[in-house]
């Protein structure tokens, strides 16, 4: 390849193409660019040499590595590029310059961040993902989405600011900005970066931005959002905090708590947002295993593989719900049902995505999650393992059954709509194809799950791992089939809670109700107290001025009386005193 092409990061290409797209009024030309850019990006990435700095720069004395590919970033970059391609196809029926361009630039920023070799470059693209992605929420054009997008932007920028502060701290202490694994959280700057990444990965209590904004995004926007931000954080965690014990428990909690919210949530896109949280929990937990600063090879493979397949199947699920939203105008479970009659293809693809996320054997989730589960059990972490197993049954509940069942089957809502547009079906079909192609056994050597395992950062360990053992298939099928039996039984005996419209309170209540209320109360108080304080202040200063004027003005106390030169005498006395003090001080 020519030199300028080897130095061209696929991320930069996408950002550039995105900026061009924003200003291109010709719809099909613009959409051609949004499809061609990821394709060229994939080509560039596949041809790029690994473990070489393709582009570095020295700016203001900082050594920046702008484009570097290695085994880990390759997998994430490839997944992001595939997602960008599917998203562009999915958006073919729309005509929105800003959304097209920003979606491409957002993908590009995430990819460029993945291929950055230092904290400063990471920070820059980290912030670009925040600024570009907010347009996906804004594109919905509703009042609620506007407010959600502002909350989203605030939290994302906060994450960036923390990352920058951490990077500055690290630079100050080590004199280097290069990305390396932290051994301990007490290292200078480590905690700040940890929290910055934690916000983006939607850690418990920092997760609300995700459930708040994704379901309020536009049809296409939610699909775009689902792929990049959280997985970029997962990538950064693998890079900087492998083997960090805290992550094990944070991840385990993350897998479990969203399950309960997802069960009672009525908006199916919000259910998917909770499900995203739960899936990222598996990855975070896997990253925490092993020695601090090194990690566990099997588990890191698990996190990487899980991120890859998750980007595809979560995108697929969001696409199917997007298609439903596009045709019916709602994703509320209480208003849907029976849609398989009108949208059988969408239903089929949704079921494939649902089976993948539930980790049915022969679907992509199975081959990825197995790595993590095995690693956790090898480490002998009984409680964590039981939590993850619990969460696996939970995933089946909210993503495996609830999403397809309440949208496409169940109680017939009487809605008779058209099947999704062809481009949406094509994108979903491609996603479904990847879900199955990656999930099947390697009947042809090198294909099937081996294709994915071959790409993983610890290739040897991955290739030695066998997901399709009899024990493993049997136990997984037991877990899933008996859980399905529980569903059928609860449904049959009327014990399954009905889907009701409503808002489910989560911890964002703290800032959206108490915080907002407090701010409003402070505003009201200030509105009353402010003028009162101003009045008091002017009263006091006015009186003080009058006193001073009475004493010192030409008509004042000191200017009157027999000794008219009183001011001069006083001044002379003061100067004499200063002189005396001066002599004492010197002496």
């Amino acid at each position: 390849m020519p030199a300028f092409l080897t130095a061209l990061s696929p991320g930069w290409l996408l950002i550039f193409a995105g900026i061009v797209a924003i200003f291109l009024p010709m719809r099909r030309v613009r959409q051609g660019i949004t499809i061609a850019a990821p394709l060229i990006g994939i080509l560039l990435l596949v041809l790029a040499d690994q473990n070489v700095n393709h582009l570095s720069a020295s700016v203001l004395g900082l050594d920046l590595v702008l484009y570097r590919v290695d085994g880990l970033s390759f997998v994430f970059g490839l997944a992001f590029l595939l997602a960008a391609l599917l998203n562009a196809i999915y958006a073919w029926h729309t005509d929105d310059r800003v959304q097209d361009g920003m979606a491409l630039a957002y993908a590009g920023a995430a990819i460029a961040a993945t291929f950055s070799g230092d904290l400063m470059t990471l920070f820059i693209f980290w912030e670009i993902t925040a600024v570009t992605s907010v347009f996906m929420v804004l594109a919905a054009g509703t009042r609620a989405s506007y407010f959600a997008s502002m909350r989203y932007l605030g939290i994302q920028v906060l994450s960036g600011v923390l990352l920058l502060a951490g990077a500055a701290y690290v630079y100050n202490n080590t004199g280097s900005l290069s990305m390396k694994a932290f051994v301990s959280l007490s290292e200078p700057g480590a905690m700040l970066i940890f929290i910055a990444l934690g916000i983006k990965a939607a850690f418990p209590f920092m997760h609300n931005w995700l459930q708040d904004s994704y379901p309020k995004a536009s049809v296409v926007g939610a699909v775009v959002l689902s792929a990049f931000t959280t997985k970029l954080a997962v990538y950064a965690f693998i890079r900087m905090f492998p083997g960090q014990d805290a992550l094990i428990w944070i991840g385990a909690v993350m897998t479990v708590f969203p399950v309960f919210f997802a069960v009672i949530e009525n908006d199916l896109r919000k259910v998917l947002a909770y499900s995203l949280n739960n899936q990222v929990g598996f990855m975070i937990c896997a990253i925490g295993l092993g020695t601090a600063g090194v990690g566990n090879a099997l588990a890191l493979n698990g996190a990487t593989a899980h991120a890859f397949v998750h980007i595809i199947y979560k995108g697929l699920l969001f696409m199917s719900m997007g298609a439903v939203l596009y045709r019916t105008g709602t994703t509320k479970a209480s208003e849907l049902g029976g849609l398989y009659r009108s949208m059988p293809w969408t239903a089929l693809f949704c079921i494939i995505g649902a089976m993948s996320i539930s980790a049915f054997p022969l679907f992509s989730g199975f081959v990825a999650k197995s790595l993590t589960m095995s690693a956790v059990s090898h480490e002998g972490l009984t409680i964590v393992w039981l939590m993850l197993l619990f969460a696996s049954a939970g995933v089946l509940e909210h993503s495996g059954i609830k999403i397809p069942y309440f949208a496409f089957f169940g109680h017939d809502s009487g809605r008779r709509v058209k099947e999704a547009p062809f481009n949406m079906l094509l994108a979903m079909g491609m996603g479904a194809f990847i879900c199955i192609a990656v999930g099947i056994p390697a009947i042809i050597p090198g294909l099937g799950y081996e294709w994915l395992y071959n790409l993983l950062p610890f290739r040897e360990e991955a290739m030695n791992y066998q997901p399709f053992t009899f024990d493993h298939i049997l136990t997984q099928m037991q877990l899933l089939v008996l859980a399905i039996f529980a569903f059928v039984m609860l449904k049959r005996f009327g014990l399954y809670p009905p889907e009701k419209p409503g808002t489910i309170l989560d911890t964002d209540w703290v800032y959206r109700k108490i915080g907002f209320g407090l701010a409003q109360w402070l505003g009201t108080v200030w509105g009353k107290l402010g003028p009162a304080m101003t009045a008091v202040f002017f009263g006091i200063t006015g009186r003080a001025y009058e006193r001073i004027e009475d004493a010192f003005s030409p008509r004042g106390e000191l200017a009157r009386g027999a000794l008219t030169g009183a001011m001069a005498i006083w001044t002379a006395a003061l100067l004499g005193l200063v002189l005396l003090l001066g002599f004492i001080a010197v002496g």
Binding site: S218, W345, R415, L482, A486, L505
Partner: protein, 145 residues
């Protein structure tokens, strides 16, 4: 000029025509608004007694999976996981627990749709030719029957 050529062409033509008609039928929605693929892919869900069939079918499959487990000597890292049917029972219990927790949690956490202010309608990029939504105000909710 042989006479075979038009014959073959005609045959091929008829074949293509039929295939095209078939393909056309497969994406022509019926008057009731039902997609023809729906019958092919999911027609079975409308079979009579399908609820009972699924219930007993899954029940039998569950039993079968546990029976197979009786004859398999599994090698899990945790000894308790080697117990027969551990995964199945755990999955069943976990699933049932999650779903049943939906009752109290729903009562505890569910508020009105406009709790945080106007919940808003669908996003701007939905289908402009969307059909009128059926009246949902008097609808029974899934599970309410």
């Amino acid at each position: 000029m042989s006479n075979d050529t038009p014959e073959t062409r005609d045959k091929t033509g008829r074949f293509l025509k039929r295939a095209a008609e078939k393909a056309h039928d497969l994406h022509t929605v019926s008057n009731e608004g039902v997609h023809p693929m729906a019958k092919i892919l999911f027609g079975w869900t409308e079979a009579r007694h399908i609820g009972a069939i699924i219930f007993w079918g899954i029940g039998l499959l569950s039993a079968l999976l546990i029976v197979i487990d009786l004859f398999v000597n599994r090698h899990d890292y945790f000894s308790f996981a080697n117990a027969t049917g551990f995964y199945g029972l755990y999955g069943f219990a976990a699933f049932a627990f999650v779903v049943l927790m939906g009752w109290p949690l729903g009562n505890l956490l569910r508020r009105g749709e406009n709790y945080y202010g106007d919940a808003g309608g669908p996003p701007a990029d939905v289908d402009p030719d969307m059909p009128q939504a059926p009246d949902t105000a008097h609808m029974t909710y899934e599970g309410d029957e």
